[in-house]
Amino acid sequence: MATSEIAHAHAAPQGFIRKYIFSLDHKVIGLQYFFLALTAVWVGMILSLFMRIHMVWPSADLPLVGHIQPEAYLSLVTMHGTIMVFFVLTTAPQGGFGNYFLPIQIGAPDMAFPVLNMLSFWTTFVAFMIMIAAFFVTGGAPLHGWTGYPPLSAVQSTGPGEGLGADLWITSIAIFCAASLMGALNFITTTLDLRAKGMSMMRMPLTVWSWFITAILGLLAFGVLLSAGILLLMDRNLGTSFYVPLVVVSGQLMGHRGGSPLLWQHLFWFFGHPEVYIAIVPGMGVASQLLSTFSRKPIFGYKAMVYAMLSIGFLGFMVWGHHMFMSGMSPYSAFAFSILTMSIGVPSAIKTFNWLGTIWRGRVRFYTPMLFAVGFVSLFVSGGLSGPFLAQPTLDIPLHDTAFVVGHFHLIMGVAAIFGIFAATYYWFPKMFGRMMNEALGKIHFWFTFIGTYSIFMPMHYLGMAGQPRRYSQFTEVAYLQHLIPLNRFITYAAIVTISAQLIFVINLFWSLLKGPKASDNPWEATTLEWITASPPPHDNFGGHTPVVHNGPYEYGVPGAARDYILQTDPAIAPSSAH
């Protein structure tokens, strides 16, 4: 352990390009990931705004895009989902904050493989450029949804966007998979090999555990999607039939024979379900870290939190079939998938219970990062509790592929994960940039976002119960959907307000970057290793020395201690007080 020679091998870089563009420094790479995700989230959000407006005013003329056709709406659906899942929810929490803080929190000078780290970011960047290019080719972006079910995604004549746009889409995802595999390998090796002296696994901050577990999920999941994507490309361009049986599209008999559309669904969801946890687990780590810090209290049930995350990750690989209850898969397998899915409720409930237990009898300080952490818990509960509906095949009969599902996964893997990202941004901004963010703007941003996202996604559950299918570009063709249009309008208004309010965040971010008051090394009076070094940390993180760890990560309010927090590097606290 703690052989830092490998990572230490690179000296502080000279020159702009090696320092800020092709940097080997995990901190710079973390920021690159962060700003890539920030760009991507705006693209994804604007797409969703167009979608919401088109759904309720189908004949409206919009700026930039004009009048949206149904096929263009489906391109928006596809690109919104893909960009958000891959380039925001996978990129920001893991690539961004994980990259920046995992090495620091374990007391390492850098990632285990700095070159691989740089390569991983730039590969992700290329993938993003290819994804965006899909908008601008003939036929536009694909319309097959982020799940890309064949034959729709595999046969070019099934619709506009299924030509070059779909090829670019798959290529981008395949490249993204390769990048994520590199990242995952790096995270795992770094966590296992580069921990400072005294940083045993059970002294790692829960954020480190969450990035570590996410990396393992990524390593096992992205390889499968990469392979699946290559097969899909072959079906599309080389005449193979992995996923496509004999089909007749618009009266034309296609050349495919004997493939299985369900094979793609199995492979996709074998990746896709763990992907949900790749998006949310880092948020769990951040919420745990922040709730403990701002409640001035040790995390409730540290070990239970670790085991809960491990079991969520483990079970996450055995439940992909719950996306396929209506697919034509054997109804017997639904039994197994369903009961395993319900079991995930147990570790999730443990986490919620422990977060509440952490706040209980604490001394809560309401800084903006804490507000977002509390918001995360609330959204995690709300999004989580619609899970047991969808996990039951019986209830999937009315609910599958309706707005209920859209509400469910947006609350839990969309908004809750985004709250994790916001919490992390407000919390670590002082460390990353050496300046504080504006508290007043931060709080205004929180209130708009918290109330706004609930107003958008909670009503979707009602729409789904009433039978509103997903991915409908408008509700004019089905009579029973007419009476749902007012509620849909309400959601659109809420989306307009909430999306506009995100400008407050951007203004705060860039204003604070330039003009924010200088941050001290440890503005939150926190305990983990990033707070013992300068803000921002020097190139090698700890200015030439390697920290030695004596304490667990969340020693707040220790009886008899001089101050209410004990740094991990402080002299070991008496074992008797740690009951």
């Binding site: 096929e71 319309l143 099934t158 209290k297 237990g357 509790l385 009602y462 299918p469 997903r470 029973y480």
Partner: protein
């Protein structure tokens, strides 16, 4: 700030729960034999999840307010957790979630493990971009051959599904764009798709099943109320997905026989 958080979290909880309890938006009228069981399982789930929801959000709001740092001398309690409570909580949630699952399982089994009854009416459903076609076997009770080579959506319903009119068993097959079913008789569905995946969703029948190219999926349900019901496509199938719409007319057995006889007569 603690009080504001308490108020907002409680308000969100109240409003969300209110609309569930008031049933402002609810499952559409259930008009099939399976509807009652599915709806009961839904209601049980939403009551149990509703209780957990209110308790969890309620205590979150309460705790952040009650344990806010208001400058008093009160210190945060130094505790790393409580294993006994952790175990109790884990066991309780395990019983809740697994129990709920087992409760709902017999409904699923009745729906999908058993084949259709002997007296069920066979109907073949074919989905294609962007229409549903329904085929009735006619007096011989047997479906005739179809062929992908014969499929021509521009030449009427029979040609759309590629009905091979040279096959004697196909002679009396009736293909329509509207689904007509007799009330209180089980229907034995064969679901097919010719181009991409579609999903046959009839909200009032509490019925949904994907139609997948290359597969012939057998399903059954029993309509129990006479009336007109909408069919929607629930699986993204291309640019016309939102208007891949059909009608199911549930009629009396006599009306059904009359209707089918009239369609047969039209063919001659």
């Amino acid at each position: 700030m603690g009080l504001a958080l308490l108020a907002v979290i409680w308000l969100i909880t109240f409003v969300s729960t209110y609309f569930f309890i008031a049933k402002t938006w609810w499952l559409p009228l259930g008009a099939s034999a399976a509807a009652a069981g599915i709806d009961r399982q839904f209601t049980v789930t939403y009551i149990l999840m509703g209780i957990v929801f209110v308790l969890a959000q309620g205590s979150l709001g309460l705790f952040v307010w009650q344990y806010r740092d208001h400058g008093s001398a009160r210190k945060a309690e130094y505790s790393h957790g409580n294993t006994k409570m952790e175990v109790v909580w884990t066991v309780l949630t395990a019983i809740l979630f697994v129990g709920l699952n087992l409760m709902g399982s017999p409904i699923w089994a009745a729906e999908r493990f058993k084949p259709a009854d002997d007296g069920a009416l066979p109907v073949e459903v074919t989905g294609m971009q962007f229409a549903w076609y329904f085929r009735y076997a006619g007096p011989d009770g047997k479906f005739g051959l179809t062929s992908p080579k014969l499929m021509d959506p521009s030449a009427g319903s029979e040609a759309a599904i590629g009905l091979d009119t040279s096959d004697p068993m196909a002679k009396d097959d009736v293909v329509t764009g509207t689904m007509v079913l007799p009330v209180n008789r089980q229907v034995d569905l064969t679901l097919r798709a010719v181009d991409v995946i579609h999903s046959f969703f009839v909200p009032n029948m509490r019925f949904k099943q994907d139609a997948v190219p290359g597969l012939a999926i057998h399903m059954h349900f029993t309509p129990t109320q006479i009336g007109d019901y909408e069919i929607a496509c629930a699986e993204l199938c291309g640019l016309g997905h939102y208007k891949m719409h059909g009608m199911l007319k549930v009629v009396s057995p006599e009306d059904f026989d009359k209707w089918l006889a009239a369609r047969e007569a039209e063919k001659q």
